[in-house]
Homo-oligomer: 457 residues x 2
């Protein structure tokens, strides 16, 4: 199969942000793409039914979208966040810049992003989109798939032949579930103790944001936390992360009275701004948080997992979709590099992407603890201050882990994680300096850290 | 439900060694037990069709079987192995005792063990055994299960109501697969790079063993190995562990010629003793090696996983079935301790057993490397020698990890693993002593190790 073969056909299962982006990439590389989605066209629906946790995009996403000439359009749908604003339990605000004044996370509605990417996929001549078609069966040897039209009665299967199939069907991937029947398929799904629900801070009477809209707001409370991300319409989408059971937990918050005092005690400043929080916490079903790891990602060089289907992770680093966009960008580069030879492209894709997805997946888990504790733990804050100062003194010697992950698309996640671990060990040594909390601004501290860095490089 | 309730009914899925043992325990505790097995009664079959890797039993198994008054009978079916015999590539033999002359692993055929336990289960008045009944559906709220008789046409479902259900249905557990549909079920299955096939060394013309029958024979070859376990009939069952792909691997050994030179090169001493090895390696399907970890083990205090269904592990520590027998023994103790209150028994069972199964599962993985390398790595052998000498000097201060796992049923796996890790760190320090390979017998080495041990206890 080569690019000049007019019959090279690719099926994509799932027309979310990843499936749509991949469709654009493959169509522009001259493949005939059939893009299947089990849900209805979300552009024709009023209320969005799928996963709704707000998204943040950072440099890895922009790097992929730029190559498709979509960076500016998508940025126009997003709001840049230049800092974290930590809300302490007694209402104090602590501001932490993400980086320099050009480095931002971008808050965007999953729905709007998806609509935009779908419309661009639709404009590609070689892309055919099929909505409300549920994947029913998949032959892992031939990549022949059958889909069922959700509207027709009686149900009828439609067989789709293809040279390749990409599974971009998300965290609950049907393709991945079917793959469990293939030999030697290693698989894990792990649930966190925490679940989440979404709450809203509506716009004020003038349609304006009620909190600083250029910040990611966090109310860290050790085992649980609330975060808020701005929307274009003046509202904020808030996410409450809380244990499934224990105290407090979604199970223990079982009456209006209990919820009221929980909110008053922990989130007094934002409580009056939230839209109906007591009723929502009482009645909304909690959503689980889980991560998925699989091996292989590629089957018979015919079928490949991509995005959440390959590496569903917890949302705390804000990198899930960024990692998925990077999957797409690197796949695109491999198509060119290996001149459309899929016997080479797919093994290289797996070798390159899996290690990096594993790395960011692990970072995302440990970042939860970090965020939750950062308002409370003095030692943690002191570490950050020393790191930041050292970075400003020697920007070439030390980039904080968060910067490498979010704002350095040229550093693979795996490498960022490795450097981050080395940095942690060096900072452990620095924190052992007697009276470090008093002497941390003195020159000898930074000379010592410089020596440690230079020793390993 | 109490023991005096004549209606307290328990379903067990799977009549392998674990299901049969559990049936005996529960019947003797006055429960009505329905024991279901999807296969036919293996006592009526000529050739055994299921999993056949030979088993070794050690102290944890005996400790459980003794309580059921079955230790002596089962021991009569087994052969004690007092040592490892390492066969090096040039035909040298290195002997390593497992412990003192009473400490042995016991080699037993899975089939014979199962037959013996099944017959004892059958003798219990309160046990009903149902063969060729395949589990079809399970209600996780009520523990009502439906089974299909494999012999009847057309297939008919039979509903079995019960107060509790135990899943003893092995490494490929159907109950566990159905549990994947329950909420918040964490699950992982991981395949090793190696697979295995079984080969045979037949008895000689006089019906005698052709190798020392009181030893576990190992031909360690770094990434692959052969082992041999004696059978009562004079034969040995051998297992060849080899990579699935790569070189050498089951994929690369694809012609009689290649296999011939592979065997000649790596297993010259045993090659002439093996029954038709070239043809067997060429034609027998390889069996995968995988480990399974799940959470929870218990659902609604109505359904519980036990044995391989809960913790399928790789066979290298010879502890898979020993761990399963320990599951049974500890469950039995909890029934007594909590006076048949299953709302207490099952949470305690899970809390107690899962940490230990996780520990031995991890130990089993790392033991593979240890076995494979032990003939070749001088440093590894020196460590063992120092450990052994220290153990004989101070038996109360230091039990080798292998001894704790295999011959100390009173030390939980989790604790053994933790102590083993401390020992490893101490031995790392000892191995840093300059010229340790020359001075290892000198007194100061053992004084230093003694100081290290005393520091942490």
């Amino acid at each position: 199969m080569t690019s000049t073969d007019p019959k090279a056909k690719i099926t994509i299962a799932g027309a979310g942000p990843v499936g749509s982006t991949l469709a654009i990439i493959l169509a522009r590389a001259n493949y005939e793409v059939n893009l299947f989605e089990s849900r209805a066209d979300l552009r024709k629906q009023k209320a969005y039914l799928g996963k709704s946790i707000n998204l943040v995009l950072s440099d890895r996403a922009w790097s992929a979208l730029k190559e498709l000439d979509l960076e500016q359009e998508v940025k126009s749908l997003a709001i840049p966040l230049y800092k974290r604003l930590i809300h302490t339990v007694n209402g104090e605000l602590k501001s932490q810049n993400y980086g320099n004044n050009k480095q931002a996370l971008w808050s965007i509605s999953r729905n709007q992003l998806n609509e935009c990417l779908l419309s661009h996929a639709e404009q590609e001549q070689r892309v055919n989109i099929h909505f409300e078609q549920r994947l029913h069966h998949l032959d892992f040897n031939t990549s022949c798939a059958s889909f069922i039209n959700q509207q027709e009665r009686p149900y009828q299967q439609r067989e789709i032949e293809a040279d390749l199939l990409f599974a971009a069907d998300g965290a609950y991937s049907k393709v991945r579930r079917l793959a469990q029947e293939t030999p030697r398929f290693s698989y894990s799904q792990n649930y966190m103790e925490q679940s989440y629900i979404e709450l809203t801070i509506p716009a004020d009477a003038q349609g304006k944001h009620q909190l600083d809209k250029h910040a990611l707001h966090i109310w860290p409370r050790d085992k649980f936390m609330l975060i808020a991300l701005p929307n274009l319409d003046g509202s904020f989408t808030c996410t409450l992360f809380l244990q499934h059971q224990g105290n407090p937990s979604f199970q223990s918050l079982n009456s209006a009275e209990v919820i009221n005092s929980f909110l008053q005690e922990n989130f007094a400043d934002v409580f009056p701004l939230l839209d109906n929080p007591v009723e929502n916490i009482l009645n909304k079903p909690e959503n689980p948080l889980f991560l998925v790891s699989v091996n292989p990602w590629v089957f018979n060089n015919k079928i490949a997992l991509i995005g959440d289907a390959a590496h569903a992770m917890v949302p705390f680093y804000g990198q899930g979709l960024n990692c998925s966009f990077e999957d797409c960008r690197e796949l695109s580069a491999l198509i060119e590099q290996h001149q459309h030879d899929w016997q080479k492209i797919l093994p290289a894709y797996q070798a390159q992407r899996k290690v990096n997805a594993d790395a960011i997946s692990k970072l995302a888990i440990s970042h939860f603890e970090e965020i939750c504790q950062q308002a409370s733990k003095e030692e943690f804050l002191l570490r950050k201050k020393i790191e930041d100062k050292f970075h400003s003194l020697y920007p070439d010697l030390w980039q904080p882990l968060y910067t490498m992950v979010s704002f350095s698309a040229d550093i693979p996640y795996q490498q960022a994680r490795k450097i981050g671990e080395q940095q942690k060990r060096m900072m452990d040594e620095i924190m052992c300096i007697p009276n470090i909390s008093e002497c941390w601004q003195q020159e000898f501290v930074y000379n010592k850290l410089k020596q440690l860095v230079e020793k390993i490089t």
